[in-house]
């Protein structure tokens, strides 16, 4: 029999969104041929959750979904204890999704000291400090299935992955969500009259789109292989970042009519100057409907 990599999928304080996002991976047959879940929230496994928490089942990779608190239990055992036990025997730990990485939405669920494995939002947390070298984060709410699966394959191949400050593979998180958005031209030329329900326009100016300062590959590796939120006309909610969820997600926070958050690495003064110049283009094609009569 083929030597499969053994994976434990552990859910902490979660909605199972990453579990179901993973099930959208198009080549699952191949994946299940190369990896074996010793436990997964919906896929059948040789072991039960009770086996997982009461014994020490051999395992190569620990996947954690959901925010982590000592108080939160699975099968009557604290998730922190389960993580501590398996983190000792696995080669790698992957925090799957934004809750497991930064705390995310369920950081606010009322359990004591709830956070991601190594980060409480953007603050490093000391709790699992000794596991830093073992961990890779794939943030997102949910994570894109290809980002997760291909990270697991990289582990399997022992490929050297370059990670960013939040332990995220640069291969996926060096990009911004803005890269590849079909609405880019409206951003570049500062055409700022977006209305919801239209093919045209950019949601950055008024409708809270965080794509220019959010890291991820949503517009490079499309969702469900067909689309992305910003392409569809929905603002990027910044779900891969430690700050997710911010407040007032559908409107752009501005100071003196200038968006408070600018594209990564762009200074306010330069932005203002260039935005003014860009506006002078007044490109007729972008001022009217895309499919003009």
């Amino acid at each position: 029999m083929k030597n499969k990599m053994r994976v434990l999928w552990l859910s902490a304080i979660a909605c199972n969104g990453n579990t179901h996002s993973f099930l959208n991976y198009p080549f699952l047959e191949q994946f299940l041929d190369d990896f074996e879940f010793i436990y997964h929230p919906v896929i059948d496994s040789h072991y039960t959750l009770e086996d997982i928490v009461s014994k020490e089942i051999p395992c190569d990779i620990l996947l954690i979904e959901g925010a982590i608190s000592k108080e939160f239990q699975r099968a009557d055992v604290s998730v922190v204890d389960i993580i501590e036990k398996y983190s000792k025997i696995v080669q790698k730990i992957v925090t799957v999704g934004t809750c497991a990485t930064f705390g995310g939405i369920f950081r606010e669920s009322g359990y004591s000291e709830t956070s991601g494995l190594h980060f409480d939002q953007d603050k490093p947390s000391e709790r699992f400090h000794d596991l830093l070298d073992k961990t890779i984060s794939v943030s997102g709410c949910p994570v894109h299935p290809e980002v997760l699966v291909n990270t697991l394959y990289a582990i399997k191949k022992s490929a050297a992955l370059k990670l960013d400050n939040f332990l995220r593979p640069k291969e996926f998180y060096a990009y911004t969500i803005h890269n590849g958005c079909t609405r880019n031209e409206y951003f570049e030329y500062k055409v700022d009259n977006h209305q919801f329900g239209e093919l045209e326009g950019c949601m950055f100016y008024d409708h809270g789109c965080q794509a220019p300062f959010t890291h991820g590959s949503c517009n490079k590796i499309l969702w469900n292989e067909v689309n992305s939120k910003t392409r569809a006309g929905l603002s990027c909610m910044g779900c891969t970042e430690p700050t997710f969820p911010k407040q007032n997600l559908f409107s752009t926070k501005k100071n003196m009519a200038i968006p408070e958050n600018l594209p990564v690495g762009v200074g306010k003064r330069v932005y203002l100057t260039l935005a003014g110049i860009s506006k002078a283009f007044k490109i007729d094609r972008l001022e009217k409907k895309l499919f003009d009569d």
């Binding site: 969104g17 919906v42 959750l49 239990q73 067909v226 407040q247």
Partner: protein
């Protein structure tokens, strides 16, 4: 005897009490909660459109639609295009279908001694995910339905793609689930004739008959469904007596000391929700026939859920024909949400049954939010004198394995329940 029931989008603890070798009472316990309702308090009302899909990874889209409808209910005279209504109904249909496939191939088959069929679950679910993503940008966890409509504009090319996803899913059903023409399956009025067909569904139905499980899983024979749209009707069914005059005012949530899940009742009685309830209220001939012959048993429950896949696929095809692409996708509300102080509610049919959201807004901020999930209806843990729907369905069974089958025939969603 306590058994941890796993892989129901989380777990639940069932404490079985036996008397004379038969199950006498089952205590159901959910061990955690995520306090979503508290997380929402004090946030800007529209943020609920982003947070609430995260109630659940498998039926989060129903939570989005329930949220947007509850918020819209806070407005007077809000305008919504027919196009936006149809698009929302389509994406919700696709999510229901996706759920049913996963439940059948991942949860049900192993309970009948078969190997779990992961790829048969994921192939059609992925097609339905693509169909949602076409409008919403991604699945799971889009927030594309906003107050006033939907964020997307769609084109003829999108419709063509969508029709392909639907056609391919119907083909999957015809090649695997029930190997007959979908239209014949949908017009079939005799549940027993299904037993003569080939396919993954008839296989299980035959097994139920062969292993003498036909009587298992019966409960109060009381059904309710509040979510109304162009396909589902609102109403309740007592055995087969249907009335459509029901009001959400009579739905009550109450705490139970032993569990984090709250009880839900209508006029103080427990009702079953879900595909079987919807089919009883809608008087779907095939399901009515199964019910006439086998009552509210696992046979009828399983058949109703799987049958809904084909019904919703066919109905979605019709809905697409009603789409008028020249209508606007979104009509901006005339009142800014920050000027709104009001309360609203919604009821939508999620995969597992009626989902209710209630919201109270003060100057555009959420003052209070309440969510009642389908699993709460079916799994309300009553006392011995007043048992919940699934509790009653397990009484009298002689082994825990069959009880687990009966329990899971309600398609339990632990994460929703522990919102």
């Amino acid at each position: 005897m306590i058994k941890l029931i796993e892989k129901i989008e989380g777990e639940a603890k069932l404490n079985f009490n036996f008397k004379d070798a038969k199950i006498d009472f089952v205590d159901i316990e959910f061990m955690s909660t995520r306090n979503i309702e508290n997380i929402l308090k004090g946030k800007s009302a529209f943020d609920a459109l982003v947070i609430n899909p995260r109630v659940c990874g498998i039926c989060g889209h129903a939570h989005l639609i329930a949220t947007v409808q509850a918020l819209e209910n806070c407005y007077d005279n809000l305008e919504l295009s027919n196009k936006a209504k149809i698009i929302r109904e389509l994406t919700l249909n696709f999510e229901l279908i996706q759920n049913h496939f996963k439940w059948y191939y991942l949860t049900m088959l192993p309970l009948f001694g078969q190997k779990q069929q992961v790829l048969k679950a994921t192939y059609p679910s992925q097609l339905m995910g693509k169909a949602i993503a076409l409008f919403g940008g991604q699945y799971p966890h889009t927030s594309y339905a906003i107050v006033g409509g939907v964020v997307c504009e769609i084109t003829e090319m999108d419709i063509i793609k969508l029709q392909h996803y639907i056609a391919q899913t119907i083909k999957f059903v015809e090649d695997n689930l029930v190997k007959i023409d979908s239209e014949n399956f949908l017009t079939c009025k005799d549940a027993d004739t299904l037993l003569d067909y080939e396919g993954d569904l008839p296989d299980i139905l035959r097994q139920i008959k062969k292993e003498k499980l036909l009587k298992y899983g019966k409960s109060y024979d009381r059904f309710i469904s509040f979510g109304e749209n162009s396909y589902f009707k609102k109403g309740k069914s007592l055995q087969t007596k249907v009335s459509h005059n029901i009001s959400i005012e009579h739905v009550k949530e109450s705490e139970i000391p032993s569990s984090f899940a709250k009880n839900v009742s209508f006029k103080d009685k427990y009702y079953e929700v879900g595909p079987l309830a919807r089919a009883m209220v809608n008087k779907t001939p095939l399901i009515a026939d199964a019910h006439k012959k086998y009552g509210d048993s696992i046979f009828s429950r399983i058949l109703a859920r799987v049958c809904e896949i084909s019904q919703l696929l066919e109905h979605s095809k019709k809905l697409i024909k009603d789409l008028d692409l020249s209508e606007p996708s979104y009509i901006e509300p005339s009142l800014d949400i920050s000027q709104l102080s009001a309360s609203g509610y919604s009821a939508v049919e999620a995969a597992r049954g009626t989902l209710i959201h209630k919201v109270e807004i003060e100057d555009g901020m959420i003052k209070n939010y309440e969510i009642i999930t389908p699993t709460q209806w079916n799994l309300s843990g009553g006392t011995k004198d007043k048992q919940g729907v699934s509790q009653k369905a397990m009484i009298g069974l002689s082994d825990i394995k069959t009880a687990e089958l009966v329990f899971k025939s309600f398609d339990v969603c632990s994460v929703c329940t522990t919102h």
